[in-house]
């Protein structure tokens, strides 16, 4: 294992120290927690938005704290949901009296810990609601699974719910926007290499020299299928073909696209993938209104990418264009 770290047990706190040092003009660390909040939190007259999850997905989630997006982000240990007390601290830090929306990725751990935090907050009279993001089409949404995972589509939820909250909308309205995004966003991921947990130093799965792992999540879990490494265009086509049917797109529909690197993929390759995504959408007479290419929701040093498609209408497009000062998503 080769990592630029010190004590593996301190990676989260040292990362957060470095993050706050870099962005001290706009964010602050809530004392004795792993919560990063806007410097001016709570923002009066605004619904607070809290997201978070395990660490190792940087720039998620702290990178999305800022005007136009989140009010606070909670970091758990690497790939481990944060605990209820930490989430509760975040809720308290951002509640201005207008209520707080929790953005939760659909994992058993995240859902339980955030729900317990919500219970703690409600017990103190804070109005809390939640949205559960489940955009990963690699997982079947059936009673035989815990449902689809929340992956890179979460970033769109941050952006659009964040923009909505900035308008002074109510908790219910902000939640509605978030739900609308969840309903219209789908993602599929592929890995070319595993990632390595700092604490164990072990590779998350084994992959042959010419193999890829299709349908991976963002925690180094094995995907749904090992396949031979083929050309980028073929891999991209397979991913897009799995995403599009779930969105029931018609001709002249509009979408926003995110091609997200998993951590170690050269940007060159992400753009090569993006080229093919656009080609496939054009073939289907679907218009791409916005494209985001880069690292938005990673798995440490995993190589690979995910493709996210969000079906947009005028409201969502407007919210996408709204300004954002979050370090990892400036518009």
């Amino acid at each position: 294992m080769k990592k630029l770290i010190n004590d593996p047990n301190l990676v989260i706190t040292e990362m957060l120290d470095g993050f706050v040092a870099a962005h001290s003009s706009s964010v602050k660390r809530v004392k004795n927690t792993t919560v990063v909040a806007r410097k001016n939190a709570p923002v009066s007259g605004k619904v607070g938005i809290v997201s978070g999850g395990g660490s190792g997905h940087e720039p998620a989630h702290a990178g999305y704290v800022g005007e136009g997006m989140l009010d606070a982000a909670v970091s758990g240990e690497v790939f481990t949901s944060p605990t209820p007390d930490q989430v509760f601290e975040a809720i308290k830090a951002v509640d201005s009296g207008k209520g707080v929306l929790l953005v939760i990725k659909n994992y058993t751990g995240d859902v339980m810990n955030f729900e317990m935090a919500a219970e703690l907050a409600e017990a103190e009279g804070i109005q809390v609601d939640q949205v559960v993001v489940n955009d990963d089409v690699a997982v079947e949404d059936s009673s035989f699974t815990t449902g689809r995972r929340g992956v890179a589509g979460t970033v769109f939820v941050h952006k659009l719910a964040g923009a909505m909250a900035e308008t002074g909308a109510s908790l219910e309205e902000v939640k509605q926007t978030a739900e609308k995004v969840v309903q219209h966003v789908r993602t599929m991921g592929v890995a070319l290499s595993p990632c390595i947990m700092p604490s164990s130093g072990e590779e998350s799965f084994e992959l042959g020299d010419k193999e890829i792992e299709m349908g991976i999540g963002i925690h180094g879990e094995p995907g749904i299928e090992k396949k031979p490494l083929v050309f980028a265009d073929e891999i991209t086509s397979e991913m897009v073909e799995r995403i599009l049917p779930e969105l029931e797109l018609n001709e002249n529909d509009e979408v926003a696209v995110m091609v997200n690197g998993m951590g170690a993929t050269p940007e060159m390759e992400l753009y090569i993938v993006n080229r093919k995504v656009h080609e496939l959408l054009v073939e289907k007479s679907v218009t791409v209104s916005h494209t985001f290419v880069g690292e938005y929701m990673t798995s440490l040093e995993m190589a690979g990418c995910s493709i996210t498609v969000l079906k947009v209408d005028d409201q969502l497009k407007e919210l996408l264009d709204a300004p954002s000062q979050a370090p990892a998503f400036r518009i």
């Binding site: 240990e77 949901s81 007390d85 058993t108 751990g109 699974t145 815990t146 925690h219």
Partner: protein
């Protein structure tokens, strides 16, 4: 089970978790995200420290302290579940002399709590597949530490053949078969530790 034995339960469990940290993590790497041992070892180290640092009046107090620490130090899926189990056991044990049927009540309360939090049932390849057989054994034959340990072991081993439909392993569907459930294995050690603690003088 007196208050010292209850404390010993937690400290013994922590010892097992430290010893089995890498093993549990490697199990989780196969069908999950490779952090179960790390999470449990981190959280229960804190719980054992908290339990050792204070003197408690009752077993219920020990369990409550452990529950609160686990809840805020483990994280992931196992944190809320073990935290809830410990908290519910504390509540069921409150004001009671812990023996015989009280164990059954405690386990039942824990299972209810786990089910409510995790929305799982038996047969879904989770820790419940150890807890529920243990409860059934205690209900049908009365509480006997050695039997509990044996039942837990068999139940833990039986998770290998199950297909996961809850937790991260469910993403793998049939591919989850053939691997032990990490949470079932860590639950097995909880009952091993209980048997050990009860063998000791209070």
């Amino acid at each position: 089970m007196n208050v010292n034995q209850t404390a010993a339960w937690i400290t013994h469990y922590n010892q097992h978790l430290q010893d089995q940290k890498d093993y549990l993590t490697s199990l989780d790497r196969k069908i999950g995200d490779g952090d179960h041992g790390i999470n449990m070892a981190r959280g229960f180290a804190e719980a054992a420290k908290a339990v050792e640092a204070e003197t408690f009046e009752t077993s219920a107090d020990v369990l409550k302290k452990a529950a609160m620490t686990v809840m805020s130090k483990v994280g992931g899926a196992s944190g809320p579940l073990y935290g809830t189990a410990l908290l519910k056991m504390s509540m069921a044990a409150k004001g009671k002399d812990i023996k015989g049927d009280v164990f059954a009540d405690m386990f039942e309360a824990a299972i209810d709590g786990i089910k409510q939090r995790g929305k799982a049932e038996t047969g879904e390849k989770t820790m419940l597949d150890v807890w529920v057989p243990v409860l059934e054994e205690v209900k049908s034959s009365g509480f006997d530490a050695a039997n509990v340990e044996e039942t837990a072991q068999k139940a833990m081993e039986a998770t290998k053949d199950l297909t996961a439909t809850k937790g991260r392993a469910s993403y793998l569907k049939e591919r989850s078969k053939g691997h032990l459930d990490p949470g079932a294995v860590s639950s097995y050690y909880l009952f091993v530790s209980l048997a050990e603690a009860l063998k000791e003088e209070g």
